[in-house]
């Protein structure tokens, strides 16, 4: 094992920072602006990849930049563990950059220069964290990472975003303070903070109280970013950021840097033996186990997809911490392997969530019934990644989980193996419904979601769905059915208050309030604390408009009619294959305030245009249309005469907010979304599968085996 003096580690850190300059300079030219991002991303990956051969054979690259403070050298060091993280971060940055381009353009977001520049800065800091050679340098880049990601969290500049940003800074700086205190303790008691393979020797011999205290401070400080309970709550709130940010940073770079800090702590500051000797490893693993279980249970209750993914991230990150806390080579390998495994899988999931948001403006799982039809590739990737998260074979999650299971038994704590297995079940519990309903259900036939919505013990009365994925208690059905009857004569003025959700489109801040006859909108579930209104991503006008004319028409229609449902002319051929359940149509028609046929007539021209989407039709032929729509749904290729074929093929999407239960139109892979977003999804999920099928060839496992062998002396 030799040391190679080279500028490459420094280059890897500096390149993204140079990218910031390029991005800022080209801020007035949006099309050119993405260039520096892509170029620096690719070159950074290139530089780091070029380090691989030597690192794999046990060498270490060093760039020495002098002394920072007395006793602390400013050195960047690329060893196996650091290269693992750096390679992961930079490679995923490339694909995230492409994804960002698609995402930001798709939503026509503001402040893109600041976004891309902060992104580059964050990656630069993350690589700096990876290549730090001692705790102080790690701390430097750790804090810089916090500062660089703050503008990304607060990107939306709404109150929720600002509050999330404040919380984020408070938590992460607080973690930084704890890390600094720990570093001071280590430096004071041992005189060095350099990462020494096998641990700083003197830490084993100093006063155990100080050693344990320093470990607790360091692990706690890093644990803020690694989202251990109880300092995890910044992560779900940070989901207010744009999805590429949530994906790369809060599933890959920031949180992994926290976990990376813990792994450096375990491997190179204390060393696995000292950790075991001091008895601090098992409490760490225990906290991780608690986090795994609690976060998974909380995830079951989340309706917002990104929040569910956030809690899933919290849970999965603790797999890594769990592995690091146990003194067994397999557990260490499993924990470290989960870093890239989880990164690929979670990135896939977040990319899918973002694609769904951009394409259909849907953020809630309860609205996603049948969306597999609209976004087949996306949801397939989601399905594969979910399989991996649960730890089923052939996807990356299985390999790391396998090692963790063996390791926890090997270390003498089979309880952790049980925790891991039950976590797998919980993962299935919160991912499987999403996948299942996406492909095998439609809005009409969906089950109540999220899974746990009512009291945990269950209800004594039977639960039905109200058609938008929310449970409703028995006894309300009756009124709905009567409405559908009265509906059938097309009496638009029937003023029947319904308990059905008249405006099922869950758009809370819209004309709902104006439709007084409608039932007050049911929030996303009686016990759902995550009402959509808390998310800025849903309340921007841009979220609800798309670039097509359909939207302007739709909004025009909204203002003229002042209610969500357009009364369709019986003769209008609008059946665009959207859905609706009779129940909804009934209520909707009842809510329309102007019942005169003239209004219908006036509405007709608007609704006649082939590109428009009607929200629901409750025409006199509602029941007839309903059948049509049913048949339409069953048989997508069967178009109703006019306009339907075109609408089926248009790239306009269904605005979730306007329809109670969208029957998603069927799209192919080519028309589902832009390739900017689809290609990264494909690459990420392919990476997850590759890591699962041939982990040995995928470079990560080799790096990890090297790290663990060097640390524990055991060859796996």
């Amino acid at each position: 094992m030799s040391t190679i003096i080279s500028l490459k580690p420094l280059l890897a850190v500096i390149l993204p920072a140079i990218g910031i300059g390029g991005i800022v300079l080209s801020r007035r030219y949006p099309n050119i602006r993405e260039g520096p991002t892509i170029v620096t991303a690719v070159s950074t990956v290139g530089v780091i990849a070029s380090l691989l051969p030597a690192v794999l054979s046990g060498n270490v690259y060093i760039t020495n930049l002098g002394t920072f403070v007395p006793g602390v050298a400013f050195t960047l060091r690329a060893d196996a563990l650091g290269t693992l993280f750096a390679l992961l971060a930079s490679f995923l940055w490339v694909i995230t950059s492409f994804y960002s381009i698609g995402y930001m353009r798709g939503l026509d977001e503001h402040a893109q220069t600041r976004y891309f520049a902060s992104f580059a800065g964050s990656v630069s800091a993350a690589i700096g964290v990876a290549f730090a050679s001692n705790l102080i340098i790690l701390y430097i880049f750790y804090e810089l990472l916090t500062v660089a990601t703050y503008p990304l969290v607060t990107h939306d500049e709404s109150d929720a975003a600002r509050a999330a940003g404040r919380k984020y800074l408070a938590y992460t700086f607080g973690g930084g303070v704890a890390v600094l205190a720990g570093i001071v303790l280590v430096f004071w008691s041992t005189g060095t903070v350099a990462f020494t393979p096998g641990g700083i020797a003197s830490l084993a011999s100093i006063d155990p109280l100080i050693a344990r205290g320093a470990f607790a401070l360091l692990a706690g400080g890093f644990g803020v970013k690694a989202a251990l309970i109880p300092v995890h709550s910044w992560l779900p709130d940070a989901m207010v950021a744009p999805t590429p940010v949530s994906g790369l940073l809060h599933a890959v770079a920031v949180v992994k840097s926290g976990v990376f800090g813990i792994s450096r702590l375990v491997f190179d500051v204390y060393g696995p033996e000292t950790v075991a000797a001091l008895g601090v490893g098992v409490p760490l693993a225990a906290i991780a186990a608690v986090t795994i279980v609690i976060a998974s249970i909380i995830a079951l209750r989340q309706d917002n997809l990104k929040r569910r993914l956030a809690y899933s991230t919290i849970s999965q990150l603790s797999y890594i911490t769990l592995g690091l806390g146990l003194f067994s080579p397999e557990a260490l390998i499993g924990g470290l392997l989960h870093i890239p495994a989880h990164a690929f899988m979670k990135l896939t999931l977040f990319f899918c969530a973002g694609a769904i948001h951009v394409e259909t403006h849907t953020d809630n799982i309860s609205k996603m019934a049948g969306i597999g039809r609209r976004m087949p590739l996306t949801m397939s990737a989601f399905a594969i990644a979910s399989v991996g998260m649960a730890g089923l074979p052939l996807v990356a999650g299985f390999v790391s989980k396998w090692y963790l299971l063996i390791g926890s038994v090997d270390a003498g704590y089979p309880i952790f193996a049980i925790v891991l297995l039950s976590s797998g079940i919980l993962n299935i519990a919160y991912f499987w419904p999403i996948v299942y309903q996406a492909f095998f259900q439609t809005a009409v036939e969906t089950d109540a979601k999220p899974v746990i919505e009512f009291s945990l013990g269950g209800q004594w009365r039977p639960i039905r769905t109200d058609g938008h994925g929310h449970g409703r208690e028995y006894g309300d059905e009756h009124t709905e059915e009567t409405e559908s009857e009265s509906e059938s004569d097309g009496d638009d003025t029937a003023d029947i208050a319904t308990t059905g959700d008249g405006n099922a489109n869950g758009q809370p801040d819209d004309t709902d309030a104006e439709s007084s006859q409608q039932e007050p909108k049911i929030p996303d579930g009686p016990s759902d604390p995550n009402a959509e209104t808390t998310y800025a991503v849903d309340v921007y006008p841009s979220d609800h408009t798309t670039t097509s004319t359909a939207d302007t028409e739709r909004s025009a229609r909204k203002t003229t009619a002042n209610n969500r449902d357009e009364t369709a002319n019986p003769n209008a051929t609008m059946n665009t294959g959207e859905d609706n359940t009779s129940i909804e149509t009934a209520s909707r028609s009842s809510s329309s305030t102007d019942a005169s046929p003239s209004t219908h007539a006036s509405d007709t021209p608007l609704t006649d245009t082939p590109e428009s989407k009607t929200e629901t039709e409750h025409s006199p032929n509602a029941s007839i249309n309903r059948d049509d729509t049913q048949t339409l749904r069953d048989d997508p290729d069967l178009g109703i005469s006019d306009g339907d074929d075109e609408t089926l093929k248009t790239e306009e999407n269904n605005d979730d907010m306007h329809v109670s239960d969208p029957a998603w139109e069927r799209r192919t892979v080519r028309t589902e979304s832009t390739w900017f977003m689809l290609a990264p999804i494909v690459i990420a999920v392919t990476g997850a599968v590759v890591l699962g099928v041939i982990p040995q060839q995928a470079v990560f496992l080799s790096l990890i085996e090297q790290v663990v062998t060097a640390a524990t002396g055991v060859v796996i």
């Binding site: 920072f68 403070v69 975003a161 001071v184």
Partner: protein
């Protein structure tokens, strides 16, 4: 040439006559004189620094009278670093006032007097001489605070004068006590004479307390800081930048000198309570200063309370009697001066664009004043302690030293101060970048009051001058550069600091 040392004081002092005298002939005499003098001062500082770095500590006997009877000027590496700091800040501020600041010739005279005073504080080796220079500094500052002709500034200056004079007088009384005890005023001589008298005699201890109290008033530690927020808030922007960077710095340097050169660490071992109390007062300053800063709505008052907290940190590092912490304190002294000067100049720029200096005036300025806002944000995070800027290096040393010396409370407070500093800076950064003006109700910012702070010049909201941008960028870059070069700075300071341990 060792004559450079007294020239550091004499040149600005003498040059202070010219703006007023020549001002009758030529309107611009003030600025030109100040600029030339500042450059000459920098040259002299360079000479002194070079001599110290190559030859070690040296001294100069004023008037040829040998110490301990005569007044002695001493230059060691701490002095050298601080003198360079003074010259640089003077050049920066003189450049700043060219466009922005008060333009009266009397103003420049006072500025040069202040330069002379601060330089004198830093180079003197005699206790009473220190009093004289402290008073020169004070007088010049009182006049400068009121330089913009506004009555609010005059009132703030009167308050400052009253409190500051009491502080200086207490200092004088302390000098008197020590003189009564030993018969000498020379710092080095006192260090040998005081043990003979006995460190724990009431006379010596009282002398110490009086000296420290007087200097604490000048440094604006809690609870005797009350003059500072008003004085900073009401004075012109250039003046605030200058005095925030240098005046309290000089007083903190005086504390360092007296504790280490006059009283020496032996005093701390005989009377540990005295230093412990000082450390506790400093720690409380950190907390209270930060907490009070969070609730301020005026930006300059917020920065004034921030100074209270930061000087608490510096004095805490001095009071724990540990070499590492002491080095950290000096490093932080230098770094804080650079950062605060940059911050106040940035506030001046932002206030001129926004038309007011309250925190809500800053909303959305990230877009209108991108360079200055970025500089402000960088300096803010540097002061918070984000590495690798200089704010971190000093803080790291202080915490490490405090922990090594066993002062755990000071260490914890210093570490936690990061969060506290973040609390008040985050409010500003958030408003600069992440709020847009339309999303806030029109608030009444105290435009009428705040408009008068710009040195009596035109009161309309104007744009930012290039000079402001240059200065803010320079100080931000220096903050980061100094941070990266922190170990070199520490190496320079080592010889001066280790003699005490």
């Amino acid at each position: 040439m060792t004559d450079a040392l007294p020239l550091l004081v004499v040149v600005p002092l003498f040059a202070a006559l010219f703006p007023v005298a020549l001002g009758y002939l030529w309107n611009d005499a003030g600025w030109a004189t100040a600029a030339i003098t500042a450059v000459v001062h920098l040259g002299l500082a360079g000479v002194v620094a070079q001599q110290v770095l190559t030859g070690g500590q040296f001294s100069y006997a004023v008037g040829g009278f040998q110490p301990p009877i005569g007044i002695e000027l001493v230059a060691d590496s701490v002095t050298a670093v601080l003198v360079i700091l003074i010259s640089s800040i003077t050049i920066l501020i003189v450049g700043y006032t060219r466009r922005v600041g008060p333009h009266q010739n009397a103003f420049y005279s006072e500025l040069l007097l202040l330069t002379a005073g601060v330089s004198g504080v830093v180079i003197t080796g005699d206790l009473f001489n220190l009093y004289v220079f402290l008073e020169i500094t004070g007088l010049a500052t009182y006049a400068l605070v009121a330089a913009n002709r506004s009555p609010a500034a005059a009132l703030a200056s009167v308050k400052y004068l009253l409190v500051g004079t009491i502080g200086a007088s207490l200092y004088l009384l302390g000098v008197g006590y020590l003189y009564v005890a030993t018969g000498t005023l020379n710092m080095a001589d006192l260090a040998t004479q005081l043990p003979a008298v006995g460190y724990d005699t009431p006379l010596v201890v009282t002398g110490f307390i009086l000296l420290m109290t007087g200097l604490a008033i000048k440094t604006a530690l809690f609870p005797v800081h009350t003059w500072q927020p008003n004085a900073y808030a009401k004075s012109p922007h250039s003046v605030t930048a200058y005095i925030a960077a240098l005046v309290s710095t000089a007083a903190a340097y005086a504390i360092f000198r007296i504790i280490y050169t006059v009283f020496t660490p032996s005093f701390a071992s005989v009377v540990p309570l005295a230093l412990d109390v000082l450390a506790w007062v400093a720690a409380v300053s950190i907390i209270v200063g930060s907490v009070l800063a969070v609730v301020q709505s005026d930006l300059k008052r917020m920065l004034a309370y921030s100074s209270v907290a930061q000087f608490g940190l510096i004095i805490a590092g001095i009071a724990v009697m540990n070499q590492i912490a002491l080095t950290g304190s000096v490093v932080h002294l230098v770094g804080h001066a650079v950062m605060k000067a940059g911050l106040f100049v940035a506030v001046g720029g932002l206030a001129s664009v926004a038309g007011g200096q309250t925190i809500d005036d800053m909303i959305g300025l990230g877009r209108r004043a991108p360079i200055v806002s970025l500089g402000f944000a960088t300096l803010a995070f540097a002061l918070v302690g984000v590495p690798p800027a200089i704010g971190f290096a000093g803080k790291w040393q202080i915490v490490l030293g405090a922990v090594s010396a066993g002062h755990w409370a000071v260490g914890v407070v210093a570490v936690v101060s990061t969060m506290l500093t973040l609390a008040y800076f985050l409010r500003v950064v958030e408003r600069l970048y992440f709020r847009s003006p339309s999303s806030v109700d029109e608030q009444t910012s105290d435009m009428s009051m705040n408009m008068t702070t710009d040195g009596g010049d035109t009161l309309v909201a104007s744009s930012i001058t290039t000079t402001t941008r240059i200065i803010v960028t320079l100080s931000a870059i220096s903050a980061i550069g100094l941070g990266l070069a922190a170990s070199d700075l520490i190496t320079i300071l080592e010889p001066a600091v280790e003699v005490y341990f």
